[in-house]
């Protein structure tokens, strides 16, 4: 019931990029140092963010990473889904199939959890990095 370490690193990395002047890029090494992310691991994380279309990369000397779209259009949910796939606080809310093996679709527990999950997801979607950067000291 917890976001994993890679996702936490990704939050920090995207927040870092969102704090940059538009168009600027940061290399993996700089990112790793600035955000205390293991230097090899940061490559894997940025790879996931790039594939998800949240981040753009430039190769070669003076290459690095920058946001692929405005920080106002990148939410915590986007980053979580890039690293972990769809948010699901319960198995049965992820894979419908797995659920029906053991419990009916009328199960009131799952209905309640679905409502709570929807609220959580909506909140994660509402939290954009533009709004988060604005709150930074």
């Amino acid at each position: 019931m917890q976001l994993n370490q890679a996702t936490d690193y990704a939050f920090r990395a995207v927040l870092h990029l969102a704090s940059l002047p538009a168009g600027a890029v940061v290399s993996a090494r700089e990112l790793a140092e600035a955000q205390a992310i293991p230097p090899r691991f940061v490559l894997k994380i940025m790879h996931a963010l790039t594939r998800a279309g949240l981040v753009e990369s430039r190769r070669g000397p003076a290459g690095g990473f920058g946001l692929a779209r405005p920080a106002a259009e990148i939410s915590l949910l986007d980053v979580i889904e890039a690293l972990e796939g769809p948010v699901a606080i319960h198995r049965c809310l992820a894979e419908r199939e797995a659920c029906n093996k053991h419990c009916t679709s009328e199960c009131p527990v799952h209905a309640a959890l679905r409502g709570l999950q929807d609220g959580l997801v909506a909140g994660l979607r509402r939290a954009t990095f533009a709004s988060l950067v604005a709150k930074k000291p």
Copy 2:
């Protein structure tokens, strides 16, 4: 970012007990059969619920398990905490110490996540088994 299997079984077990006439008990074996829980595993789950004070047990022939208090006073949150400990959607919202190693307490991401977690926890606390049983078909 997902409740585990044992917690799901526990939801079903408590829902089952909450559907019983007051004072009735169900044996582990019956519970396992009725709710499709592995028969040995159900013992472990009921053990956790008993230790948490949600369920009472009676030993010997005709023994079994029943709710330790009214279903209106047992929430989804109670069951989750009995099986998994405190709810935390993010490491840093669980162990304050671990957080400060890598990020300052001013981190806007964590502030946002804390707000969302509080909402989720409040919802889980509000969902009592009395209200869930009432919704059953």
